[in-house]
Symmetry: D4
Subunit: 248 residues, 8 copies
């Protein structure tokens, strides 16, 4: 039952063709979701200025391209994550506005560059190997209308590099911190800043890093109270939440 | 907005005090759940003849007793699981109809003994140590109106005990099989019967049983195709699903 | 010792050529299984209308094809799971009735389309990435003589999509619910329906999904009492048990 | 070397008693932290209106009491977490302003009830067993100057309870969602709201919940993009980060 | 149907009261196990000279005592494992022949001290903390009629202690080696002897020993080819298998 | 210092060229192993009739071939495990006596077929997928001079297949039982026979089998007392220990 | 055979009573260890100035006391670890020189306070909860003759506390760093100093710390190259190795 | 702000152009790290004679080559780890001084062969499969100016091979011990020597070795007190720490 049908029901009631009890009875069996509109409004509000996202892994290049084309009809900014070179080449041919960033495997369509975030999002990574994840976070935040301050390679074993960037860190409104191996960087950054820190464990490491498990556990046990955590290598999620926070 | 308010709205429409568009608009912002009735009906249907359940662990004896008392107003059959002796004594004093089964820690109120299941549910356990879990499954199934054939201590290391009970197993309409340690019994039973088998890993064992993990993994990897699994020691869940199946 | 030999023994006893004690002694050393008939009858009953199944992984295309050919002599419906394209091509050339479904890797021979299930089996999946597992469940259930209502892409993060399909879910006699990542869908479906729900964790996800472990644990801990679980990606098992239940 | 000493050094240079090279040399060996002021300012800014926190577990009642007494000299709001009844009794005798909340084990001193957060923080829990963790989050947020909307017992297996509270959820500026067992609630809430969701896995459950591991993994794999996660049972951390976000 | 009934059936056939087909039909539905004798013989053979075993953990003292009393009617040697002091006191009062060994929690009834093993079983342990497990293995082997050479405290970090006992080790017909912590001793012993080595990981250790997991994994990965492994702390199982081997 | 040098030292002492204290001093610093003979004797005894073994994985074909050539100088029977087709082709060209068994990846040189074992070793596997591991065990046992009774595809879900082979199982002097998935077969076989059972978990399975972990844990927790376990897929180790036992 | 017996053998050879071959033959069968002296010397060298150690856990107070009494006959310094208050009281009564340190459960006998280490050992801990482990390390190092610089409560979330102590850290010859939760401190310390860092994960934490596993994995994956790790809570081991290094 | 700027500030103060309060204010906002000198000195001291290190995995050959070229401007010794053949070929063409060691994947530039270590570092491995890791440790130690005694293939299952090398082991100033599978070798070596032992678990093994986890856990639980552990396969880290110790 959609809005028109609902209106017709009220009209029937108004015309006396259906009495109140019968009308109540009909509504009783009507699935709520078909009313739909509140949901749609809500979503429109939610998605205002947000990019649509496509997770490319496990999809064929033409599937990715077709979905992107459709999304671009309604959204100037579209984000494709975890795309390999073949996928990127296919998409670029079909949709020339596509920009491919091979490090992170992101393809972005950045038609609307309006800044909506109130402050800067710092996207920090511990080592150069963590940069793909940091880049995914950065592009996500940028497509969602944020200014990003990217700070790379300030791992905790060279704490002076971190201290050197303390000013920039404290100026951010929210920090995304990506680290593999022992994943200690979010704790240290968390102690230096007073804003929320979103920690992203990366699968960088070997042996007892167990593909990011060590970093994940480290971040969940952070002794800094302002740290929350997302899934291993989930740069997109971190950038997304940072954007939500930066709009508040 | 409850049913009366909804009826009032229709009356207003009928009287011409509210037009259709306005009425649609009001409903649009009305939380679906306040309509409520479908849900309630649905639940009434769902729960017809089913016991209400209280998980006693982590509740004080008086809390358990108070909840049970309230539930007994609407349901003749009430099941309390994981109750210790102190809780049972308290409940028994307050509610004399309570029957305590110390092995499984179940307290049951079994006011309505109507049989609703179409066949027999076999509740099987591998060793005597698994009997608490089997008893929880059995009592659950019985309170939900099923005839239960309980078969104990037929572990796979003495396969003749199992073979000896094959007739009884094949006569069941659904089997609940509880086993700890290596958890192999569901696979063997599954191969002997053609009905659904619900496997319950128990925390019985030591060392590399890791409190039921070994049995759980074994059952999930069963080479018998008719086996599904519930959580470790979850006799209640197994008895519940077996009852649902036995009513079909 | 088969039936004929057994009959011969009784004849010898009847003719006085063998006395009772000797006959007992002979039986004493006879392997039970050679009697065989009960077992065979039992299996015939069990398998009535069920497809034979071949797990293609780890078998060569010609092995798969040869086994399928042999099974087709006795069964109009044969199911081959986890077959890759090369295997499918080989089988299709040898056995033209083969239908390959590349998403799930299933090859089916569906000669007998008699409906044997009493109601509908809903096969639900959370995201499009879970569709291969859902398809395996669906094809299994269909070959076993069931009508399947397939509902895709109703993950819990867009709960309205799920609510929208509530009617269809509540009309099913048994539900198969496939989900990866956090594996939350079976709990939500389980709360909406009153029939048994068979949860299938899928290996969809990355990082801390640990190839389906997160979804598996989630489903085992479901707060909905009507949920049982099968192995990760085991669409076949879920479809099989759902069929057994739907015939009751 | 504090600020006075530093000023004295500059005075000596100004008076010509110490030349520039010598002064540089002295500073070279001066630990940075003794300069201190930036740090102190920074911390003052950070802590403005924030309660001091004492983790009581592993401390003796008199230790807890003594630390609390000292903190209360500088902070009107002090939070003690994970205190048992004996500790609470001791503290209450020494410091009559103490309020003990036995469910969560929190002791609070709430001298300054100024509201500093810009909106409401929703603190949600799936079941009544998760309430201790939710309470810890709530008290933390309240002591940090936030208005909290506490919504209890809206687990996903009764999705209508959740839908019933959708309005309240969408009005929050940030949500804290506590859930044990399968930990599915944050995903569903995350799909309903557009604000950041902080998920707190709880150790509620048994068997394959592995003391909260199942819920933790589920939340890390949430299919809702606006979810971040803190440690198992870490209600304090969730309340803390929610407060930081709510002040932005 | 037992042997007498079977003989009666044959008599009926012989007398012509029952024809062959009817007799075959009756046997067809007779559970195999009721024939029973082969099984019984087999078991008698299997158990000749073996002690009956009672796992005391989770049983009440009077249950343990009652079972022991019953077993002693048919077996001169009875073994009770994992009994605490209270249980032992109860049993000793009821059954004065009981000998309690508090280190391992074993109670033994050793009425028949006939030696049945062909050689010596060496029972070795790495540290004094492993002695309870070693004692359980030793008593098991002794009650099953074996001579045991117990060698304690020869851990690998003092390899000279091990080398000092090499002669005794090489004279054993089978070795049981108990070790906790890193569990390295079976590999070293395995390299010194040419007989089968049964490795028993113990739960001795702390931290990353994970209650015996480290030792268990170490033993499963032994670079000595003559090592097999039993469950953590399973001294009984090791003693049992060693006895079976020593009788060959 | 070898035997000749030692004798020379004694001769010097005898001739008075070296006094006792000096001789003791020299021995004091002499590494024990250089005496060597006991060790060598011991090893000769140990290896009498045993094949030399080469683990091919991680070695180049020419390395494998060269080592095999050298071993064949002293041993008529040489076993190469885990060799791929390329390695096998290389070895076969260099050493024509090589026999390659592609299922298990074993290359064998079986020059001496003397039977040394006293009875038969049963090598059993649960499913056809477990056959590679079973074959490795069988070939190992055969090269070590044993008669092997190979019984394939008697998994527990079709218990009648197992019962059908009970006679053969009970005639074995030692059983090797290979099984993947839930790994239940060793428990059932262990209950049927009275000889030692060596259980080999295989990595056969998917999802929650975790590459053999489920089977491994199941076997370690076997409720049959006569079961010991080797590493996942370690057919060689099982065949080796079975051979040691069969010679006793 | 000890040194005297060996000398006697040489004398016999010298006197011609035993010829060289016979002497070689006797030595051949002599267990190497009975020669003993090298080993003893070695051990004497190894243990020079080192305390004897008793692990009290799992021993009765009188056992601990008796062992300590015996060790004190030969060693002025004796260390007892993991002793509870009852054990300490018993030992103190029997051996008045005992000093009990309840935080770590260490009992020490410190008769010889000679300093043998060449520099200072820094023993650092991240939080006050890690102090028991740090104290165990400190006492161990002190009893082995080292000067210890103990630095407490410099966790990474307040990096300025760490920087404040940088001078002291860089003056140490070896650092022991104890940390629970995320275990990040060793990486940061490791980047500040150029000496070896021994990291001790502690079981401090809750939830996903998994009793020290998170800290352990973090330390094993340290991005600082000068970090090695010991077992969880193994303060003794860290103090021991630090002492060995500090004597070099 | 660097040293020159700082000196200029003091000059301004001296000349009266800037008063003390203003100068303090400027320093207050100056990032500490820009002073830099202590850090630089410290690092120079730290790195004196140490090779620069490049982790090649995840870098392109030209990146590796470019970094190496730059490092060689300041350091005669440069170490590249985990390089494959393609990378090595590229580097060798660009930088002819490169030496590639294919076993470990190390490329070394060894321009300065000055010996700086005070003694010998023993680098030991258990089996030939562990040699890549041992080689990485050896080359690292050599490039840092140490003499290395490499001892291969002395696994614990052939303890005589180990005993044979005892002299060499006891002469080392520090030992690096690499072992896979059960990882028992460090415990045995640790018991034989009195110097620090750095244990390196390797990923050698299969099945329940879980890629080195078994060896790692074994080493962490070593019963030898002089053992510390690094990450799985981390030969570089072990060689690095051994070098630090050997310079003390």
């Amino acid at each position: 039952m959609d809005q028109d049908q609902l209106r017709a029901l009220f009209e029937q009631v108004r015309r006396g063709e259906v009495d109140a009890d019968t009308a109540v009875g009909r509504l009783r069996h009507m699935p709520f979701e078909d009313l739909g509109f509140a949901k749609i409004d809500h979503h429109r509000g939610l998605r205002h200025g947000m990019p649509e996202v496509i997770f490319a892994k496990g999809k064929t290049p033409d599937q990715v391209s077709a979905i992107a084309e459709k999304l671009l009809e309604h959204s100037p900014n579209v984000l494709i994550t975890r795309a390999d070179a073949a996928c990127a080449a296919y998409v670029a041919q079909a949709l020339p506005a596509a920009e491919y960033m091979p490090l992170s495997g992101v393809i972005r369509f950045w038609g609307d560059r309006t800044v909506r975030g109130k402050g800067t999002i710092a996207v920090v990574c511990a080592g150069t190997s963590d940069m793909p994840v940091a880049e995914e976070a950065q592009v996500t935040a940028e497509l969602m209308g944020n200014e990003v301050d990217a700070i790379h390679d300030i791992g905790v074993a060279g704490i002076h590099r971190l201290m050197h960037n303390r000013e920039r860190l404290t100026q951010a409104r929210v920090c995304v911190v990506c680290a593999g191996m022992e994943g200690a960087l979010p704790s240290v950054v968390g102690g230096l800043v007073s804003c929320p820190v979103i920690a992203v464990p990366t699968s960088v490491g070997y042996g007892a890093s167990f593909n990011g498990l060590a970093a994940l556990l480290g971040m969940l046990n952070s002794c800094a109270s302002n740290v929350t955590v997302v899934n291993i290598d989930n740069g997109f999620g971190a950038g997304y939440v940072a954007s939500l926070i930066n709009r508040l």
